[in-house]
Amino acid sequence: MTQGVTEAAKQIVMGPAFWIATAIFIFAYALIVSEKIHKTIIALFGAVVMIVLGIVTQEDAFNSLELGVDWNVIFLLISMMVIINIMKPTGAFEYLAIKSAKIAKGRPVMILAIFSVVTAFVSAFLDNVTTVLLIAPVTLLICQALELDVVPFLITEALASNIGGTATLIGDPPNIMIASKAQLDFMAFIYHLTPVILVVLIAYIVSIKFMFGKQLVVKEELRQRVMAMNESEAIKDPVLLKKCLIVLAITITGFVLHGLLHLEPATVALFGAALLLLISGIKDPQHILAEAEWSSLFFFIGLFIIIGGVVKVGLIKWMAIEVLELTKGNLFGTSMVVLWFSAFASAFIDNIPYVATMNPLIIDMAKNLWPNLSGVQLLHHPDLMPMWWSLSLGACLGGNGTAIGASANVIVVGMAAKMGRPISFKKFMLYGMPLMIESVLISMIYIWLRYYVF
């Protein structure tokens, strides 16, 4: 095996193009980590330099499946953003949150638990940041009503949204990217990731009860404030809400069936978005479309092109060979390294550029291991599958480790500061890191048992 690896390494030409692309890649990633300039600007600039210097052609960047922008990811994200932007003003999420607080009868630990489950569930289908932005305002109002500290609620919601997002193909951008590169369908994620995420979520709720339970005490009369809230008043536009729910149901059914129907997830999502635009009665779609998070979308576009450059010159292939040499081709060892390394890497750096790099790396690893296979046979090789799940679990759950690990964390830290209850980096880590390690441990046991023992 080692000999095969050395053979493959010889094929990489480390000429000027190799070093230029590597320099652009390292420089861009370092600048993204430093946060001195906005990451989208860096990604776009790095990408266009790759094209200008001829590392990749514009044809590669715009049209190549292997080296260019992954339009499946971009259109899936845009479509889900459009659906949620139409749904936002209906009041559905405020309804859901108030209802949850009343089901908990205003008891703080129950609210914490139910809000975590609701946030995780909603995040499994919608973007994590959007979910947190929808649930958190109501949470803050309820904390005010109960005269409770907002910090435990905000932290647990961010973490729950990251956990829930891991459960499905559409829940978190790393999964969308993995699904597209590895040609895995929606049901594969449900079958392989949802079970372990359910276990992680249960363990999480038990843990937060112990972490925060004692400090959350509420006076009896304050609970009446919550019980007096009438959740049905939250629904602002019942007709639009019905249309949204119908389209959401059709879209999710479409996701479940997309493998059978031979439709890409982006096609399903775009169908949902276009259908909702059509039936919602919106006269001018401009403001709905403009509200899509263009900055994030262009960040993805830039990253894909930068990664295309380093894939083309062989840097990623070289890295894949190094990883295989390190683990001596032991695939269980490799998937454990991928899981834990991804978790700690994602706790400190953005998991989107990380996964964008790891996807081609895993594919190159597979090409080295099974040079005679290609296409789905290669991508879905039984020995390779645990690698994809390790990458997803590590990269998504790892985000819970620190205040900067995931966008949802950044959002709640910002909200807490606005509420006059700033959460320091250390304080977030005090809760986030143990909970992240717990979830990755569970994932590790799961991967070991499911893919290597049985």
Binding site: F93, L134, P137, V138, L141
Partner: protein, 157 residues
Amino acid sequence: MKAKDIMVPIQDYLSPDATVKKAVNLLRTAVQKEQKNRVMGLPVIDDDRKLVGMLSMTDILKAAYPAYMKMADLSEFTWDGMLESLARQEGNKKVKEIMTSPVITVQENNPLMECVDLLLKKHIRQMPVLNKAGNVVGMLSTRDIFCAVTQSMIENK
């Protein structure tokens, strides 16, 4: 007509380090005192006599108004006494924490159209008038400009 012709000369002002409680007292007396030119807010001026902000009644209500109310439609779920208790908590803050800054200002020699242009484009109701040295010499409000402008309308008739 220019800004200085119709502005109300400055009478009261606040220090950035004063407590909100003190500012509220001053605002309340200013409101009662000036029946004719009802003030909506006061300029905040530091020890070097430089304008550093404005504190209006709206700023004080805004300070008590929680950020999450702005992020979602939650007005139906509020309770009696909520705003009062939040407002009470603002009393010990300093003026500089809740004032509006930077402030939109006009020069005393600016024509009225320029003043109205600012008021309308920036969605404000009043602004401080500065002299050449950059010190606040008066306040100009929608009301002052309305009175001045409509005066000529009536006279021309």
